[in-house]
């Protein structure tokens, strides 16, 4: 696929990352657009990459099993593939209703 070739060539792609509730507070911002390496395959890979970015991320994802993720507004498990997701969200377990 030409798309895959283009990505492999650049090695990174821009993704909008949004944070909510105490994940947002710990990261220190509600959203950011980051160029993420195209070799990050899964949500868990992205979390590991984010944790290396600094203390706030480290604190937000200190218990990886607790933080939830969504790819383009759809819940995603840690092993879910990032695919072409353009908006990736991280947040605590939900407490609505």
């Amino acid at each position: 696929m030409s798309n895959a070739i283009a990505k492999a060539a650049t090695g990174a792609r821009p993704v909008r990352i949004v944070y909510f509730a105490w994940v947002r507070e710990r990261v220190g911002l509600p959203e950011e657009t980051l160029d993420i390496p195209t070799d990050l395959a899964t949500v868990a890979d992205l979390v590991r990459w984010l944790k290396a970015r600094g203390e706030g991320y480290e604190a937000a994802f200190s218990d990886e099993a607790i933080v939830r993720a969504a790819l383009d507004h759809v819940h995603a498990k840690p092993q879910a593939r990032l695919g072409d997701a353009r908006e990736i969200a991280f947040f605590p377990p939900m407490t609505g209703g």
């Binding site: 949004v18 509730a21 105490w22 507004h73 969200a89 605590p92 407490t95 609505g96």
Partner: protein
């Protein structure tokens, strides 16, 4: 199949208005079950709850849960409204309304909607205390996950 009505809004809602908006003149509705969730303050220390939500995904996720309910039960009406922003003790937070020919379907669909709203809709509650301080984020309950798991079984 019907189209569920899903609304995410800051302002209050009226159960009666939603019931009145159910398809009139259809005499096949025999049962209407509604659920209203309210802001509680057991301890008397709460000034308000702040409801943060994920715009876009909140609507999409509740719509997916509602579509699943419409698939599982023969419904003639399904409404889900969830507020965000600041709500005071006694205020309404969430409404679910399910209409069907028979009561079993209406009860189960409303119950199912609430279990999934609780565990899947991207909303987070934080306490504002009566003494002016900001309280913590409300923690999710294992109970709620267990409740949602009931529905994985074929009905």
């Amino acid at each position: 199949m019907i189209s569920p009505l899903v609304r995410i809004q800051r302002g209050d809602f009226s159960l009666q208005d939603e019931i009145d908006a159910l398809p009139a003149g259809r005499a096949d509705i025999g049962a209407v079950v509604s659920f209203i969730g309210l802001c509680r303050d057991e301890a008397g220390t709460l000034a308000a709850l702040e409801l943060e939500h994920y715009p876009g995904m909140a609507e999409a996720e509740i719509a997916r849960v509602a579509a699943e309910a419409v698939e599982r039960w023969p419904l003639m009406g399904l409404v889900a409204i969830h507020r965000y922003g600041l709500v005071r003790p006694g205020d309404q937070i969430v409404l679910v309304l399910a209409a069907s020919a028979h009561r079993r379907a209406a009860f189960e669909a409303a119950d199912f909607m609430m279990d999934y709203l609780k565990t899947r809709a991207p909303f987070w509650k934080r306490e504002h205390r009566a003494d002016g301080t900001l309280g913590g984020w409300v923690e999710a309950k294992a109970d709620d996950d267990d409740a949602a798991k009931r529905w994985d079984l074929a009905p």
